[in-house]
């Protein structure tokens, strides 16, 4: 298993099951949307998610009428669940663009079957993320005060504040992710338009496809634009969580004021994002029999990314503690070496360490990376762990500030939990709708993959690059 031939054997494993043609990949993926009946499991899942959306609506309605006092936030912890949820969701939203853009630039062919779906996940996660800072403002109908617009007060936003940078970063990220996703979808909705049998679907997809006809000139511009979008999205995705981390690192709170925050936040975002991709992709693969497209190699690769980013995050935790010990700042020391591991929130802290640093080590074993159930369970643990991480960072630092007379212990209230679970419902509802109405895997890119596989088989029949076992 540990022999030197192992990596080369792995790299020749298929990213697409053998025997597929342009027509079969197109038909199989488009059938999920166009031909298959809406299954009972879809309805059960959708209604469950939709129930949670209604929980969210009720929570928001109550919040609107009663104000943020319904939450657990009060002096000194003014950033409670809302900001924890914001950072958690925005982190999850990083995997989509990472998979789509960075892996595209690195020519990683295995990205093809998961990118569409991961991009959709990104959009929905960013939508959930955007909700929380808005409702946390209290008077959320004045959210546009964050943006520069001509106003009678002759005021501008505070340009030197990371919170304003954050508003720009997150809204840019949401916009660019949407554009990237839509551009990727254009050839596929054209396929759906051409394959749909009912008039309503033909018109609907026809409008979305904008008259795409696959002209060679169009493809040439399309490919350039798509590649440039990927090149633009790559630094963007890094910048977003960097700026989110500045929300903390530029403050002087002990436990926040640290230079390691940007890289460690970005790694954490990728960690939680890949965990969420696995959490969602594995059941989807099962439910729609997509094992031909999302192969064991995909699961294996994603598990490796999970392990690698998990190790970076662990390094971040170790360095935070090391800085505090080495740095001789009494407040930092108190917060990182005493309050976090042994204070009011020590149970949360140790749960976070257990979920983020310990459990993921199982993925060192190749057999574990191939065990779909195990990988799925680990991905859930990581999702929970990353939520706890943000909770620990935000709440422990705030609840014992520089003024001991104001120290307090923070706990989420019923409405905090209701809003959080409601946002999960919103995310899941959007995903269910997406899976039902749009192709979860890019058909155009899968056809390209078939083409490359054919070419490779023809050029060197004894060593097929992708379609292992396709030779006679």
């Amino acid at each position: 298993m540990a022999s030197s031939t192992a990596p080369s054997a792995e790299s020749s494993e298929p990213v697409l099951a053998p025997g597929h043609t342009y027509a079969t990949v197109t038909d199989k993926i488009s059938a999920i949307v166009l031909r298959k009946k809406t299954g009972r499991r879809w309805w059960v899942g959708f209604l469950l998610a939709f129930f949670l959306v209604n929980v969210l609506f009720v929570s928001l309605a109550y919040l609107l009428s009663a104000g943020v006092g319904i939450w657990g936030v009060r002096t000194p912890v003014m950033w409670g669940f809302a900001i924890v949820n914001f950072v958690w969701w925005i982190g999850i939203g990083h995997a989509g663009t990472l998979i789509s853009a960075i892996l595209l630039l690195l020519k990683q062919q295995w990205r093809t079957s998961i990118n569409r779906f991961a991009e959709a996940m990104t959009l929905f996660a960013v939508s959930c993320a955007g909700l929380f800072p808005l409702i946390h403002m209290g008077r959320w109908w004045l959210f546009y005060w964050l943006f520069p617009y001509p106003n009678t007060m002759d005021m501008w936003p505070q340009w030197r504040s990371p919170l304003v940078w954050d508003a720009f970063a997150v809204s840019t990220y949401a916009t660019v992710s949407l554009l990237f996703w839509y551009v990727g979808l254009i050839p596929d909705v054209a396929t759906l338009r051409d394959r749909a049998r009912n008039r309503f679907a033909q018109i609907g997809y026809g409008i979305l496809a904008m008259g795409w006809r696959g002209s060679a000139r169009h493809w040439a511009r399309y490919q350039t634009a798509y590649l440039l979008l990927a090149a633009l999205a790559t630094p963007l995705v890094v910048s977003v969580h960097t700026i989110v981390s500045w929300d903390f690192a530029l403050a002087i709170m002990p436990g926040w004021h640290s230079t390691i925050f940007p890289p460690y936040f970005v790694a954490g975002a990728i960690y939680s994002g890949f965990a969420m991709v696995l959490t969602l992709a594995l059941p989807l693969r099962k439910a729609y029999s997509l094992e031909d497209f999302i192969t064991e190699r995909h699961v294996d690769n994603m598990a490796k990314v999970l392990l690698a980013t998990g190790l970076i995050v662990t390094y971040g935790y170790v360095m935070e503690a090391f800085f505090a010990w080495y740095g001789d700042n009494p407040y930092e020391r108190f917060m990182l070496l005493q309050e976090r591991p042994f204070g009011d929130y020590s149970h949360t802290y140790w749960m976070l360490i257990a979920s983020n640093c310990t459990v993921v080590q199982i993925l060192w074993l190749p057999a574990a990376r191939r065990n779909v159930w195990l990988v799925w369970c680990i991905s859930i643990v990581v999702n929970v762990g990353m939520w706890l991480e943000r909770y620990v960072i935000i709440v422990t630092s705030l609840h014992k500030d520089y003024l001991p007379s104001s120290w307090d212990v923070y706990h989420g209230t019923f409405w905090d939990y209701a809003t959080f679970y409601g946002s999960i419902g919103l995310f899941a509802t959007l995903l269910f709708i997406f899976v039902r109405f749009l192709p979860v895997i890019s058909m155009a890119e899968m056809r390209e993959l078939v083409h490359h596989a054919d070419e490779a088989t023809e050029a060197n029949p004894s060593q097929p690059a992708i379609q292992e076992g396709a030779e006679p």
Partner: protein, 181 residues
Amino acid sequence: MKPQIEARNYGLIAEFASPEELLIAAETARREGFTHLDAYTPFPVEGLAQVLEFRRNRIPLVVLLGGLAGGIGGYFMLWYATNVDYPINVGGRPFHSWPMYLPITFELIILGAAFAAVLGMLGLNGLPRPHHPVFAVPGFERATRDRFFLCVMATDPLFESGRVVTMLETLRPIRTTVVPA
């Protein structure tokens, strides 16, 4: 089967089963001197745009301009707000504190360039365009699934029905169809 081609038609289109056949067909048509050609494929076929002598891909320029507009506009907005319109002296810090402008400038560069990429791609491609003559071709719906089409347009200076038909037939397409305008 000899389709009748008239000047008012859009052109003549041939359907192929593989990208390799389409590439050979496109090369042949180019060798024969045809210039008003287009091909329709279910995925980008490498080398096809070059064979069709498509060189004016101005997308990179458009994206550059979009990024510059976003970046310069963004930086100007920040500078104007803090130096001209509403200067505030905070602890003697300079009004033109440019390091603080960089995050937003960066985001606006990306935003401008991304919009330019998408709108530029759609605009230069002439999309959205709900109707196009080739959509009337029977079986053209497979251009987004598994078939590859080469179209010789009637606007081509060398376009003459008999010659085009003969050329296309030698390439052994699945079928050749007249595209009505």
